[in-house]
């Protein structure tokens, strides 16, 4: 088990995997015998293959077929790739991120570019804060018995809640409440709002203490609502390009994951939470390694991007296990790099946009 691979075995394993990535067909000993410059006969290769199979790196779909990589084999390949990667110059064809007014448009556009460029399916999650801190609260009267609460959290994400009130609040009272709310709550995250704070505020609000409760509820709601994070996808149809994914049952599962988003957001959470473990935020989930069951026949490559002030989101590529990891990783790095450059500091961004105009 603990046996290390010999250099020759490594060469053979990598050759097998590379060939399989290309063709999608099981690869035989004769192919490898010719493909590598080891100058070994197919018989020798067969012996080595037999060993590699015993070690769990490759497997046979059936007797007397060639070998295909196992999840462990892919894992070896990907790790090997990553180690190599650092020194390589990124000569990837750049995908241009066009500036757009709305973040949503940018995200959709990125997802589309990714899927078109890679021929795999792509997803991207809207950036979000770990810790949503309140930045600004504003109550405004909208009708006789409705007020609208505008709640801005860090990163200029704006939430609204409509609050029904029984009593009539005049402008002056509203102003007082606004001041009260902002002085007491600014800079706090939802966890940090203690009962004591609420009690204190209610006392200060006097006869209007009921409204305070409603507002707090609204605030909680607004911050929590962020939990089902927005995810945009593109190129789901690409999975039909890979026979190993496009039989009815598998396709059905994958499509469902894409439609319901729930499972995609599991991937995002997983990625964001284990983010520090890997260099440059790139993570590769192969088959069963994936956090979601529906993706067990796929590989998922994710990257974390970070905008201004620690807003983070996740980009993911979903494809067959035999995906072109090399290209995908390069592409993701290129994208995150560009996002970084475009948005890193709000000030910087504006400057950059101006220069381009």
């Amino acid at each position: 088990m603990g046996m290390e691979l010999s250099s020759r075995q490594e060469t053979i394993l990598l050759a097998i995997i590379k060939t399989y990535l290309d063709t999608g067909e099981p690869v035989g000993s004769r192919t490898i015998s010719k493909y590598t410059d080891l100058n070994l006969s197919s018989a020798t290769i067969r012996n080595e293959m037999s060993d590699l199979e015993e070690m769990g790196y490759i497997m046979q779909p059936h007797t007397s077929a060639g070998r295909i990589p196992s999840d462990k084999g892919y894992r070896f390949y990907v790790d090997h790739l990553m180690a190599d990667k650092e020194k390589e110059v990124d000569e990837m064809k750049e995908i241009l991120i066009e500036k757009a007014d709305k973040m949503e448009q940018v995200l959709k556009q990125i997802a589309k570019s990714l899927s078109v460029n890679t021929n795999y399916a792509a997803m991207i999650s809207a950036p979000r804060y770990h810790q949503n801190k309140l930045k600004f609260i504003q109550l405004s009267r909208m009708g006789d018995d409705q007020i609208v609460a505008v709640i801005v959290v860090e990163g200029n994400i704006i939430k609204n809640e409509i609050i029904e009130v029984q009593e009539h609040l005049d402008d002056e009272t509203l102003l007082k409440l606004n001041i009260l709310l902002n002085t007491n709550l600014n800079g706090l995250s939802i966890e940090e709002i203690s009962l004591a704070t609420i009690k204190k505020m209610k006392e200060q609000a006097g006869i209007h203490s009921e409204v305070i409760s409603d507002v707090i509820d609204a605030v909680a709601e607004a911050i929590k609502a962020d939990e089902d994070l927005e995810i945009y996808t593109s190129g789901a149809k690409n999975i039909f390009k890979y026979p190993e994914l496009s039989d009815n049952e598998k396709a059905s599962e994958i499509i469902t994951a894409f439609e319901e988003k729930k499972q995609l957001s599991d991937i995002v959470y997983e990625t964001l939470s284990s983010q520090e473990e890997y260099n440059s935020g790139i993570q590769v989930y192969i088959g069963e390694e994936s956090p979601v069951q529906n993706m067990r026949d796929c590989s998922v490559v994710t990257a974390t991007y970070e905008l201004d002030e620690g807003m983070r989101g996740t980009i993911g590529i979903i494809g067959p296990k035999r995906m072109d990891y090399d290209k995908v990783v390069k592409t993701l790095k290129s994208i995150t790099g560009q996002l970084d450059a475009l948005y890193k500091k709000d000030g910087k961004r504006k400057k950059k946009l101006k220069n381009e105009e």
Copy 2:
């Protein structure tokens, strides 16, 4: 061409279609001979079938196979069904719409119920106004050089825009601008805001006229942003249950339509705009009749629902041409009926919800 169907031909045609809906297999003359109570031999049926084929209602997948309905045949069937429908009692198993705080949740839930109940794919568009009228505008200072504009349009849809300002605006000025904006713009739709109005407002704003322009832009943006309407889907995977839709190429097209939403919204627009033509808002698009090319192998059944004050949205079921139109129509009627009852008047709604609690 203009030849009317004889009563017997009608019976046979309907029998063919019904049988095909059930089995999905081409249906032959012998089957019909036994299935109907016409007491005709298969030979006679064959003669009639031959005529029906010539008239374009049915077709043969290949020589010496049974017949399957053509689009024209389905159309005949559906129209026939609709005519019958009115007198029938709706004994449909009710799908319960649970109340929820957020419209979004209700919509998602409806889509899900629909797809699960029918075994077809379902979509639903968020309700939206034809004519978005401004109801309320509120500017609030958020930082040194940012103000947030909260714009409420009819139906309590809230939009936000962050506006960057050069000059510092104090509270008093902001209050004045708020009053100015509300008195001038309330009740207007974006088309109704004339240049004259803007000019007048700018004059009144004096040195702060620049802000007015920005706000108007924001308003325009906010109302316009509604154009790409929100659409929720569910049960895309159901298309894999129908062999005639689940080969790679067709599935790929349909899935794309579902993912990109663009084509679905075309259906919504089509439905909403030709809404008056049909009774009870139910419309059936069979194959090529569909407004979107990707759905040419499907049938699409849509229904319009209407909430409070003329807010309208569309519900759609997408399935194979041989879908159970009867059930689908009933289901859609049931859903729209319930939505109607739940939300028709805001006041009514609240009462109802309270009663249920």
